[in-house]
Amino acid sequence: MSEPSDDLAWIEARERGEGGEHPRAAVYARLGAAIAELPEIAASDDGWQRAVLDELDRDAAQRVRVRTALDRRRAVVSVVIGALAIAALGLLILRPDPPPPVEPDLAYLAGRGAELRRTEGTVAVGTPLAITARVPFSGALWIYRGERLVLRCPGGDGCTVRSLPGGLALSAEVLTDAALTYTALLVVGAVPPPTGVLATDADAALGAIRETLTIDVH
């Protein structure tokens, strides 16, 4: 008869599918069969099946409630998203075409207040100049006193900017304090920033200059 330790090793090998001959092989086979054939133990019927079914019904009802709430939430979200999509589409369809860029325009008036008047390119020293321009959004106004830049608009002191459909309305006031030529350049598009010297700036922005205004001050 084999030793107990042999039994353990043999059973372990058998469970790995490697069991060979063993004196107690049949005994352990009968033991396994006896365990497998143990009779079922009947429990008292304490309504456990009804309890399980009731729990299932409660679970199902809960799932329906959750699903209904989720469905409702999804419906609301869908309606909101749909409405937003329609609104966005409407905006795209109904949005008015962007206004065409304004045509560049440059002018000036001499004087102050009620004395503002048009002149023919000459003013007396001390006369204020009100220079106005309409430019596309990429436009700018540069004003020179002789060869020197005295004002850039937008961006400089004494420059006011107002939005227009398709561009900007610029206005600047310059006091003529010397007998020099005052020059206003209206440039449109991508140009290098002015250096402050008329000749240099005019050369650099040559292709972008749309209007020029020259006022002789004497």
Binding site: P4, S5, D7, L8, A9, I11, E12, R14, E15, R16, G17, G19, R24, A26, V27, Y28, A29, R30, L31, G32, A33, A34, I35, A36, E37, L38, P39, E40, I41, A42, A43, D46, W48, Q49, A51, V52, L53, E55, L56, D57, D59, A60
Partner: protein
């Protein structure tokens, strides 16, 4: 014959012959499907009827049929494992609640019994862990019957074992003396049709560990039964 069996204790032979399917299955345990062939035609028919009800959306009817077919088997397994009638009844309810809820998703990769035993083994394991503070058997010396715990207070007398033969009664008693992990391993091995791979997945224990547990449990059971005069 072991010395213990030569006492005056009555001798009952484990007379049931080793069935061809079960006896032959020892050599091919690692093949998952091999043990499933031992599924009886009646049980196959039960499973088919239950699954047909479920497939037709008759959820309550399918659940009732499932519980009627396997309620006692699951209860017996839990009771043998945990040795507490109330806890076993509670676990049976939990196992079937879980199973009935998931029945529509059952894909038939095993028998329903195997599937239910898989769930039950997990729930019993959870319960065992929950009760970890309750003193359990001492560390087990596999081959010494002296190391087997005394019979738990009222086990198996608390069971209604009127239908049990003396042989089954002795086996219940010996199973009750095994440490929990050995008892679960040997019950699943011989009573559930779960493969070691499936047992391993359910219990979170390596298959080789489970095999070792079975190898420790069986000699202890044999000695215990022989000591009671039950001839194997």
């Amino acid at each position: 014959m072991p010395a213990a069996a030569a006492s005056d204790a009555p001798t009952w032979a484990l007379g049931s012959p080793v069935g061809g399917a079960r006896g032959a299955s020892h050599g091919r345990l690692l093949r998952d499907r091999s043990l499933r062939s031992s599924m009886t035609p009646n049980r196959q028919a039960d499973d088919a009827a239950i699954l047909a009800l479920s497939a037709r959306g008759q959820r309550r009817e399918a659940a009732s049929a499932l519980m009627s077919a396997y309620g006692d088997a699951v209860f017996s397994f839990c009771l043998r494992q945990l040795r507490d009638r109330d806890v076993a009844a509670d676990l049976r309810q939990r196992v079937f609640r879980e199973a009935c809820r998931d029945l529509a998703r059952f894909r038939g990769r095993s028998s329903l019994r195997t599937w239910l035993f898989g769930i039950a083994s997990q729930r019993c394991l959870d319960e065992g862990r929950r009760r970890v503070r309750v003193p359990g058997p001492e560390p087990f010396d596999a081959l010494s019957s002296a190391a087997i715990d005394p019979v738990p207070t009222d086990w198996p007398n608390s069971l209604d074992l009127a239908a049990h033969s003396e042989r089954s009664r002795a086996l219940e008693e010996c199973l009750g003396k095994l440490p929990d992990e050995l008892r679960m391993s040997v019950l699943l091995r011989h009573g559930s049709e779960l493969s070691y791979q499936e047992m391993s997945q359910r219990l979170g224990v390596k298959a080789t560990t489970l095999q070792a547990r079975v190898a420790r449990a069986e000699p202890a059971l044999r000695e215990c039964l022989e000591a009671k005069g039950v001839e194997l």
